[in-house]
């Protein structure tokens, strides 16, 4: 009985359900744009960090860049990869708006979206751990808080985390939307 109802739905395609499918696909495209902006802004903000202190003491170097810390390098690389993937997947989701009967492409999109979600989450949270360490230091391990000296470097690396976490949330929503679109077919 359920299959006959679904068969009737796909054969006659009630306008409301078709409108909802189109709305889901359009929302998918919009969210992809938002995620592209977030990832790109994070990568650029972190990648252009460069602060040179005017003084020079015996123990602390006087220059800070993002590639002094390998975790921040990973952050920039991960955000760049996710941004590139989202730009490349934008045509596919625009195709979904036009032809919403695609069978395998939504599955491929979910697969790659999940992989990119893992990548951006890993990059953002590893960088967050290092930024927290830079702000607070660690008394037990004798790790000094470098934010005392490099305040503008610190502000920038803290701010660039926001875009990356926003991209992560948007990717979760994208996977959810794709799953709903798969279930409605």
């Amino acid at each position: 009985m359920k299959e006959s109802v679904e068969h009737g739905e796909t054969s006659s395609k009630a306008p409301l359900s078709k409108g909802v499918s189109k709305g889901v696909s359009i929302l998918d495209v919009i969210l992809r744009f938002v995620a592209i902006i977030g990832a790109l802004a994070s990568a650029i903000a972190m990648g252009t960090t460069n602060q040179t202190l005017p003084f020079f003491t015996q123990f602390i170097r006087f220059k800070a860049q993002y590639n002094d810390l390998p975790t921040l390098t990973f952050f920039v690389v991960a955000n760049s990869i996710v941004c590139a993937y989202l730009i490349l997947s934008l045509p596919l989701s625009i195709v979904h708006v036009i032809r919403s009967r695609a069978k395998y492409s939504r599955l491929i999109l979910i697969f790659f979206d999940a992989a990119m979600l893992a990548l951006v989450t890993a990059g953002a949270s590893a960088a967050a751990a290092i930024v927290y360490l830079a702000h607070k230091g660690n008394v037990r391990a004798n790790w000094l808080a470098i934010c005392q000296q490099f305040d503008s470097f610190c502000e920038r690396i803290s701010g660039s985390l926001i875009g990356s976490f926003a991209t992560m949330v948007v990717l979760v929503l994208l996977i959810f939307l794709s799953a709903i679109a798969l279930a409605r077919r």
Binding site: P70, L133, W143, A183
Partner: protein, 228 residues
């Protein structure tokens, strides 16, 4: 019972060979069978199946049931590493016998907020996996519930993201503990705290294994949703 004059339904009954010896010869002679013939072999087959009542032949949802069973098994497999990582991090406590001017002589997991978050996240994911086992079992018995599959997919994805975040943060701290950082003058503490380092590094690896299994569960759930 040959019903060769039935043009409406074409159903190919799969006869049990042990029950009816003449059945293969009858089906090979006439392809369309009567609708009345279908319940008779089913009634003959059903009482003979013991143990696994839902892998009947001619079951339309057999592919979905296989995927749901695989989902159940993978959930049990993911629970192990998550629990092991939580326990190993939670019981990491190393006290050195030497005491120098610059190093504290004791390292615990809650000296590092990243490890605390890591342990809590692993405990949450392990608890979630145990709690989602009954729902996965329900999906094996009734594979046509799409809403439950969607719910499990969303929850699996959120737990995977949480665990990835915790594992990545702990991995960043572990990498710093192993290598240190010259620019920021952060000393590699693994030189002194061998046991603590080994334990936390192993937990991070186990946690990433759980992440991979959870991602696979998400893919599996979306395949099952598409397949139905």
């Amino acid at each position: 019972m040959s019903g060769a004059g039935e043009p409406a339904t074409v159903s190919i009954p799969i006869h049990d060979h042990a029950a009816t010896g003449k059945a293969p010869a009858a089906t090979s002679s006439a392809v369309p069978a009567a609708a009345a013939a279908a319940p008779a072999p089913a009634a003959a087959v059903a009482p003979r199946k013991v143990g696994i009542p839902f892998f009947r032949r001619g079951d339309h949802h057999r592919g979905s049931r296989c995927l749901a069973f695989l989902d159940f098994i993978l959930r049990i497999a993911a629970f192990g590493p998550a629990l092991a990582a939580a326990i190993a991090t939670g019981t990491s406590d190393e006290t050195l016998s030497v005491f120098t001017q610059f190093f504290q002589f004791r390292a615990r997991f809650d000296d590092f907020p990243a490890f605390l978050f890591f342990m809590v996240a692993n405990a949450i994911v392990a608890g979630y996996l145990v709690l989602s086992l009954p729902f996965s079992a329900v999906l094996v018995l009734r594979p046509q519930t799409i809403g439950l599959r969607l719910l499990l997919l969303v929850c699996d994805m959120i737990m995977a993201a949480l665990l990835t975040a915790a594992a990545a943060a702990a991995a960043a701290i572990v990498d710093l503990a192993h290598n240190g950082n010259l620019r920021a003058n952060w000393v590699a503490i693994c030189m002194q705290f061998h046991g603590f380092c080994q334990r936390t590094s192993g937990s991070v690896v186990a946690s990433f294994l759980t992440v991979v299994i959870l991602m696979f569960l998400v893919i599996l759930a979306s395949c099952s949703i598409r397949k139905r």
